[in-house]
């Protein structure tokens, strides 16, 4: 069922806050692309994306407590103010089929008792909320776990945005190379790690850019494997639906040349 939660609190059933208009749910936040003019020629050369602003959510909502009295409305207003004013918010949005989440901070909350009646008597309020999010992308609530054991190329099912995975090569004592390719088979990046025992594993965290190693349950920073790219790329690289086609479910692939790999990632959505 479609709806929003704020830090787990259901906006409709608990706060009695009903969405009237939502701006920013599926927008692409402003981004800048590196580019340079080409001397002596027309046009320009495009580089990588430089940065992208966080998502800005602007909601117009109606606050309508079950009890139609001014006192109930005032109590509900306090609940709404406290729910949204509590630091970093974890916002979940269900569009009727998929639940997605994003973290953000309420930068403005305006509560206006409905016009046409005395403000101290109005049973309904209009609530305008502005939330600045840390990320440009929504993220799936549940992670996806992809386990590979052969050299075959495994499709990586993604959302419409890039996902940063946690990759754990394991099960081999010689160097293991994990390869990420476009749907067409072009290598985008490769990482290589080495473990001393088949029961040891590396932990390559693309979210934080850190590499660790687990040996018999003892996890340590893995400086020896800190420079792990065999095909140079900027660390960390995401799993990106641009390397395939979301609309037709054409996905980039992941493979390992020996042993096994476990990848954990949260699908991301524009």
């Amino acid at each position: 069922m479609a709806g929003f939660t704020i830090n787990g609190i259901d906006c409709e059933s608990t706060l009695k806050l009903y969405l009237d208009e939502a701006v920013g749910l599926i927008d692409i936040p402003p981004r800048s692309i590196g580019s340079e003019a080409i001397r002596g020629r027309s046009g320009r050369w495009f580089g990588a994306q430089r940065d992208q602003a966080g998502r800005e959510l602007k909601w117009s909502m109606i606050l309508q407590p079950a009890t139609v009295t001014a006192a109930a409305r005032i109590t509900a207003e306090h609940l709404v103010r406290d729910a949204f004013g509590a630091g970093m918010l974890s916002i979940q949005f269900n569009d009727g089929s998929t639940t997605r989440r994003i973290d953000g901070v309420c930068t403005e909350l305006v509560i206006t008792p409905r016009r046409g009646s005395h403000p101290f008597l109005a049973p309904i309020s209009d609530v305008d909320i502005r939330i600045s999010c840390a990320s440009a992308f929504w993220e799936s609530v549940q992670p996806t776990i992809l386990a590979l054991t052969t050299t075959a190329r495994y499709p990586i099912e993604l959302g419409t945005g890039p996902s940063t995975p946690l990759i754990m090569p394991m099960g081999a004592t010689s160097a293991q190379t994990v390869t990420y390719r476009t749907a067409g088979g072009d290598v985008v990046w490769q990482i290589k790690t080495t473990n001393a025992a088949t029961t040891d594993y590396s932990i390559v965290d693309f979210r934080t850019g850190r590499v660790k190693k687990s040996a018999s349950g003892v996890v340590t920073d893995d400086e020896a494997n800190a420079f792990i790219y065999t095909v140079w790329s900027t660390f960390p690289q995401p799993f990106d639906p641009q390397d395939g086609d979301y609309r037709t479910s054409q996905w980039p692939t992941l493979e390992v040349d020996s042993g096994a790999v476990q990848a954990i990632y949260w699908k991301s959505w524009q």
Binding site: N7, G8, G87, V105, Q142, P143, A147, Y201, S216
Partner: protein, 245 residues
């Protein structure tokens, strides 16, 4: 005349929101750490788990067994839990015994027919005072031992079977009385009879940890855990579930 204080210099409010409850752990974050607390997964053997596409894979020494399950019956393994059988996951929880409550969200494997261990709040040796859930072999039972006397609250009626999603909610009252509540597959929550009062101890035994799937370092159960929350006061299921959404 005293100069007026300059507003805004006394503090700078951070936006980071830390843990809203004494313990919140969600498997969907794919970490053994709870909010603000480092978790410790104890297991030495290699065990298997199942990924989101139904593939069985190996998990080595102390590696979490993230196990994808299909909770809505559409053949898609959309939910990730932590499979604990011979292993357990613990966090330091040093709250003194007070009125408190908690909820464990899990998928029944075969815990109930075995030891039934879901959680414990005690030290490694499982001394008392302690609070824990095990089973009678047919029903889940909440136990509170204050160092002298033990009281229990036991579910009755329909018991969970393998594959059921179970939410066990527990209350420890200010007078030491306890009560267990159970929800199976999102049906209406049912409750066990509350125990008699049992004066709270001054502290939980030794250096107490909150442990999923074990009583102390001993008896373990068998479940796929989705989340756990511990709260001060006796909270409703709706309030506790807000922490796990």
């Amino acid at each position: 005349m005293t100069a007026p204080a300059i507003p805004g210099l006394a503090f700078r409010r951070q936006i980071t929101r830390r843990s809203t409850f004494p313990l919140i752990w969600q498997a969907r974050r794919a970490t053994v750490d709870a909010v603000d607390q480092t978790g410790t997964l104890v297991r030495t053997t290699t065990q298997s788990a199942i990924d989101s596409f139904g593939t069985t894979y190996s998990c080595y020494h102390s590696q979490p067994r993230w196990y994808a399950v299909d909770l809505d019956g559409d053949t898609v393994r959309e939910t990730v839990g932590l499979f604990l059988v011979t292993d357990y996951l613990k966090w330091a929880l040093r709250l003194k015994p007070v009125a408190m409550s908690g909820l464990i969200d899990f998928v029944e494997n075969s815990a109930l027919s075995g030891s039934g261990t879901i959680f414990s709040l005690t030290n490694d040796a499982a001394d008392s005072p302690a609070l824990w859930i095990t089973s009678t072999s047919t029903q889940y039972r909440l136990n509170h031992h204050n160092g002298t006397t033990q009281v229990t609250s036991t579910m009755s009626g329909t018991a969970p079977t393998t594959g059921d999603r179970v939410r066990l909610r527990w209350w420890l009252y200010a007078d030491g009385k306890i009560q267990l509540f159970q929800q199976i597959n999102s049906a209406a929550e049912t409750s066990a009879s509350a125990s008699s009062a049992n004066t709270l101890g001054a502290a939980w035994a030794g250096t107490p940890d909150f442990r999923l799937n074990a009583v102390g370092t001993g008896t373990t159960g068998s479940s796929v855990f989705l989340g756990a929350v511990v709260s001060l006061g006796n909270q409703t299921q709706a309030t506790l579930m807000e922490a796990l959404v």
